[in-house]
């Protein structure tokens, strides 16, 4: 249960009780201390008052002779200024001008104003039973219910007291003041000075201070809780949340995610090492992806090669096996007929035709393959000369016209005059142009074939456009047309090496060859370029070929 709480709540669970207990102890101690201080202050005042009164009384008692004796006549007359009278008068004055009540009291009082109250009676009786009791402190409540502190200072009979309160010389002897002498002996308890100090303000002050302290306690507890929450939020939760969010993002695949914590504390360190880790993961994943991609590509290439190999086998099978099968069948049937002695002129012609045609076909295939192999091996010797490409094209077009006419096609040439000469192998380039035009005728059933020549910067571009069956391959796949033995339509007669030969020748001249078509049935255009070079600076390939020999 506790372990499931959030970090901040956990901390508060510890901090809050500790704070409450600590503040409770401190505040209680403070309040007690204050109470003691206030009480001490009240007591000191009460003591001072009582002491003053006591001193005055003693002084008055000492000076009775001086007070009552007339300095001139020496006659003694009571002047009504004995300790009791003076004490009572001063007490009255003090009581009326301060919050303190001070009075002299006795169980055996002469002046009714000095009559003891309940508390004083009790204390006086207590003092009587014990000898030389010092002062008495007590606490009580006045009639209004306000707290008061009571202070009783016992008054014992001293030498000076005996003249008024001592043993009467005779029964009913009166002292100078006109009261009967009580017959006290030295050291007897005569009465006490009683001080009533108001302590109601003490309670009020303590109550107010308790309230203030309590408020401070609540405010500081709330502040601490709030502050803890804020601090944890700012310094712990936010960086933690960011780190957690980054971890989740990375787990779900966003490897570029980093933690944005810049502080230098432990979270900063955590974020930094997390970022380093993420960096390393990203790098490794990227490397892994790259490797996977490379493997996938390699695999695809292998599959492509496999497919190409299958296609080559298929095409070569067709180109070699088909004519061979026809030859064998024709011979078998012819020989069979011969054995039977049948003499059918038509059949003989048919077999003869098939045999001738297929031998021609096989010858062509074998020659093409050999030629391509020879070209690709780089041993072919190009005999380069400077010539007008236009003338060469016109010648090829002328010789192809008959073939085109047989299929009802027309060949149109767009050949501008005054184009610079090119340095090429006449035989090779003738081969290329012938091949392109032958292909155009082969794959076109109606319409026209146009051959054009134009200069483009430092190159001459030859293009052969037809309105034939077009190319079904995508733009990216069209390079396959120029690969050995590739045939888009397996049944088409031909070895599939014609374009491959063209490519080898054009590239050996430093040019490029490519096909363009909008798709099947949309016709196609084959273009090749030849760079314009002067006879003085033969192209690199040429040199290389010559060097090879």
């Amino acid at each position: 249960m506790f372990s499931r709480l959030k970090l901040g709540t956990k901390l508060l669970w510890f901090i809050a009780p500790i704070m409450v207990v600590a503040m409770g102890i401190v505040f209680t101690w403070l309040i007690k201390k204050e109470e003691r201080l206030i009480r001490g202050e009240i007591k000191t005042k009460a003591e001072m008052l009582a002491l003053q009164l006591e001193i005055i009384r003693e002084y008055i008692a000492e000076k009775q002779d001086v007070i009552n004796t007339d300095p001139e006549t020496g006659n003694v007359t009571f002047k009504h200024l004995n300790p009791a009278k003076v004490g009572a008068a001063i007490s009255k004055r003090i009581s009326s001008s301060t919050d303190y009540i001070i009075k002299q009291t006795s169980l055996n009082y002469r002046n009714p104003e000095n009559a003891p109250d309940e508390y004083e009676i009790k204390m006086l009786k207590q003092l009587q039973t014990k000898d030389n009791e010092d002062t008495i402190w007590g606490e009580d409540y006045d009639r209004e219910g306000k707290k008061i502190i009571r202070y009783i200072v016992p008054l014992y009979i001293k030498e000076d007291c005996l003249q008024c309160h001592g043993m009467p010389a005779y029964e009913g002897e009166l002292d100078i003041t006109g009261y009967k002498k009580e017959g006290y002996k030295l050291g007897d308890l005569r009465g006490a000075i009683s001080v009533i100090a108001p302590a109601g303000h003490m309670e009020a002050v303590i109550w107010t201070n308790t309230l203030i302290l309590f408020s401070i306690g609540i405010i500081s507890t709330i502040s601490v809780i709030f502050l803890t929450y804020l601090l944890i939020r700012k310094f712990v939760r936010k960086p933690l949340d960011r780190t957690v969010a980054a971890t989740r993002a990375i787990t779900s695949g966003d490897l570029s995610k980093r933690v944005d914590v810049k502080s230098g504390d432990e979270f900063g360190e955590l974020a930094e090492s997390f970022n380093i880790m993420a960096e390393s993961i990203e790098e490794k994943t990227r490397a892994l992806e790259e490797t996977t991609q490379n493997l996938e590509r390699a695999n695809q290439e292998l599959r492509g090669l496999d497919e190409m190999k299958d296609n080559i086998i298929r095409d070569v099978s067709h180109e070699l096996k088909s004519p061979l099968a026809q030859l064998r069948l024709a011979l078998e049937l012819w020989v069979g007929d011969k054995k039977d002695g049948a003499k059918d002129e038509n059949k003989a012609n048919l077999f003869n035709g098939i045999i001738k045609e297929n031998i021609k076909r096989l010858n062509k295939t074998v020659e093409s393959i050999l030629e391509l192999t020879s070209l690709e091996s780089g041993r072919e010797n190009y005999d380069k000369e400077s010539l007008q490409l236009k003338k060469l094209i016109v010648q090829v077009t002328k010789s192809s016209t008959l073939l085109a006419r047989q299929k009802g096609l027309t060949i149109r040439s767009i050949l501008p005059n005054k184009l610079p000469n090119v340095v090429v192998d006449r035989h090779g380039i003738t081969r290329v142009v012938t091949n392109l035009i032958d292909n155009a005728i082969k794959y076109t059933n109606s319409g026209e074939i146009s051959v054009s020549l134009q200069q483009k910067n430092s190159e001459l571009e030859v293009s052969v456009r037809d309105s034939g069956i077009g190319i079904g391959l995508s733009k990216e796949q069209q390079y396959k047309l120029f690969e050995r033995f590739y045939q888009e339509n397996a049944s088409t007669p031909g070895t599939g090496v014609g374009l491959s030969i063209c490519k080898t020748i054009v590239e050996a001249h430093g040019g490029k060859i490519w096909a363009e078509s909008k798709g099947k049935g949309e016709g196609s255009t084959f273009r090749f370029t030849l760079p314009l070079v002067t006879e003085k600076e033969p192209i690199a390939t040429d040199t290389k070929v010559n060097d090879g020999n």
Binding site: S317, S322, L329, L333, K347
Partner: protein, 118 residues
Amino acid sequence: MIVEDEKAFHDLYSVMFEGKGYDIICAYDGDEAMAKLEEDKPDVIILDMLLDMVTGDTFFLYLKGMPEYADIPVLIISALSEKQYKNLKKIDPNLVYIEKSYLTKERLLEELDKILIS
């Protein structure tokens, strides 16, 4: 029915079937074969594989997919080797195959007889 893109083969087949009493339907590709199939249902189809447009295997799949033609026996005569037709054999176990390199009049007539008798 003979489905074959080279005229020379059509000529050779017709010589071989001379006097055997077969009615021959000639088709030069799968497309033409499909069209002629509707006119006249043949007893057996001699099928080449490497054809223009609709190739032999496409035509074969079309044939086996049509209830009214699925029962027509097929004899494949192709330049390709037999192992390249394993998949087709799975569709029709009765499929007969002759590689063009090993095609003879005798072999062809023998296979045709077997097919037509069963």
